[in-house]
Amino acid sequence: MGVVDIDGVSVEYATDDGPVRAIDDVSFRIEEGETLGIVGESGCGKTTLTKAFLRLLDSNGEISEGSITYEGIDLAAASESTLREKIRWKEISYIPQNAMAALDPVYTVGSQVVQVIKLHTDKSTAEARERCAELFKRVDLDPNRMDDYPHELSGGQRQRVTIALSLALSPSVIVADEPTTGLDVIVQDQICDLLEEIQEDIGCAIVFVTHDMGVVSNISDRVAVMYAGRIAEIGRIEDVFERSAHPYTIGLQNAFPRMEEYPSDSTLIEIPGSPPNLVEPPSGCRFADRCPFATDECRSTDPEPVELDDGRRIECLYPDQREEFRTNGSDPRTWVPESQSSTVYAP
């Protein structure tokens, strides 16, 4: 039984060109105390998914189908007051994408932590400040920085503040939306370590959204690979990354530099083309147009999720050919689009 059960969720944005289905029939579970990574390229719907989960969609977006169940409460249908009283921050907190802009510039960082503690507990200001100082120590910040304004802190320090803030009420789930983006690598690493430590301490589940495959493989227990609003592959990190089954995961891996191979084999292989238009998504598999292994059937039949022996779930019509895909997928020539292959390889 997972902490959060996401079942058949779709999210639509109303745009001038018609409704955009940014998330299409996505189901997965967040298990207790795990770190679930969500990866995918820009526009694949990973941020929309976290926003739907937190019920923070922009005004033109809505959860059109499905349910998000947390302890018997459907977050997709719950009223704003239920969310505010029972869920928000107490159970599910959030580390935003852009730590530089995530704190109100006109209040001291400490007062913003104190404000949220006082909002959800009966603590006095003095008690809340004490708790805030504890949290600052927990994230390796000097408690004296509580009285500083956001602009007086560095990017890494601000991200530590937002982490301290997310811990304020010891939630069961922390949703971290690209928490390391925009920070330099060393700080990224520190932040990841910190999140891991904290998870061991308080036993919360972390949903970690990123486009950085390196970060996600460092920190996650499980990973969901998203493509065009759907989950292409989800499973334990070592299964998904070391024995990738979905051609998109294979392609994504190729496109990402790996430290251990540098510099001997550092060529990156690009996935040709770009993600489909979600106003009128193509029929069949959404990855078919960019997939080197696609057949005519791929373009006409929607792939059903298939569960593999190791508990992974993929959406591909040919789960049994995964070994073959993986072997061929590591060859750069596989990924050259057919229309170009003649010009590239002609003598």
Binding site: L56, R88, P96, P105
Partner: protein, 329 residues
């Protein structure tokens, strides 16, 4: 908190600006076409009498001596004597300024305290009915000239309904008391209510629109979303976070508005026959009463500079980034 060094810097800047204004005024009235003395020194006077009068006003001295004398007089608050009334200028215009303040202070307080709250409400319900109609009304009151709205208000409330006086500060024949008497007199406020409302109605549109537009941007900021995720109540997000972050441009506009309100109320004071600074200045210009004009100019500049100083201090309290960087990124 406002740091002392920031306060000192701003204070220094204020003194320098004031000095510059006083100096500019000195030269302005000496290069102005027309002889400032022509009003008091009649050409029919004998040459001896003319010289005597020129000497009395210190105009026979060389320019630099005049400048030093002028600065010394300014320093002790001596702005000369009105040609027209024969009274010392400073007490005279200060007395008139109090009349103006009776109108402008309440009007501007109403506009700049109520305005941001209304603007915040519009921004929150962006493109809703409240916002659409409200913004249209705010634009209308901003565009409507004060002499027009003023006359319509007079027509309705004074002439048709006959519930409010039609102008002036007190009934005809009433003897004006001291400034304190005037401020604490019910009759004064009965007379003031209509011009105050008209002025506030005109003034309030800018703070509404500025707050609304700035806040629409602020509402898109990440920290607003974080506050929502925190479960912070809507009203707290709206006023404590979004509005507070949208106030900076309003404060700066407000400072200028208050400064200009001292002289900018010429039209208002004319429509409502209000004996304030604006009308005094207008009369003085008509009558070539240079010392009064000079004094009024000085007082207006002084107010603009003073309120900018106050705005700087308020801004650094509103937005702590201001005092460190001088500007907000």
């Amino acid at each position: 908190m406002v740091s002392l060094s920031y306060l000192g810097k701003r204070l220094g800047l204020m003194v320098v600006s004031l000095y510059a204004v006083i100096t500019i005024l000195f030269f302005l009235f000496r290069i102005l076409p027309g002889d400032p003395t022509s009003r008091v020194v009649s050409p029919r006077f004998s040459a001896e009498q003319q010289e005597q009068l020129m000497a009395q006003y210190g105009l026979d001295e060389p320019l630099h001596t005049q400048y030093i004398l002028y600065m010394r007089n300014f320093a002790v608050g001596d702005l000369g004597q009105s040609f027209q009334h024969g009274e010392p200028v400073l007490p005279f215009i200060l007395d008139r300024t109090i009349n103006t303040l009776i109108l402008t202070v309440p009007a501007i307080l109403i506009a700049f305290i109520l305005g941001p709250f209304i603007g915040a409400l519009f921004a929150w319900h962006r493109n809703g009915r409240l916002d659409n109609y409200g913004t249209a009304i705010a634009l209308t009151t901003y565009a409507a000239p004060i002499f027009w709205t003023g006359m319509i208000a007079l027509m309705i409330f004074s002439f048709t309904l006959n519930i409010l006086p039609s102008g002036g500060m007190r009934p005809a024949g009433d003897v004006p008391g001291t400034a304190v008497d005037r401020v604490f007199s019910l009759v004064t406020w009965q007379h003031a209510i209509l011009p105050i409302v008209i002025f506030a109605l005109w003034r309030i549109s800018r703070p509404i629109l500025i707050t609304r537009n700035t806040m629409i941007d602020v509402l898109g900021d990440d920290f607003i979303q974080l506050k929502k995720a925190e479960g912070t109540p809507e009203s707290t997000i709206r006023y404590r976070h979004a509005m507070r972050n949208s106030l900076l441009p309003v404060v700066h506009y407000g400072a200028l508005a208050i400064g200009y309100a001292f002289g900018g109320s010429v039209i208002l004071e004319t429509v409502f026959s209000w004996p304030g600074l604006g009308r005094t200045m207008w009369d003085a210009v008509q009558a070539h009463d240079y010392p009064v004009v000079q004094g009024a100019f000085f007082l207006m500049s002084f107010m603009v500079i003073l309120f900018n100083f106050i705005a700087d201090i308020v801004s650094s309290w509103l937005d702590p980034r201001v005092k460190d960087e001088g500007v907000v990124e």
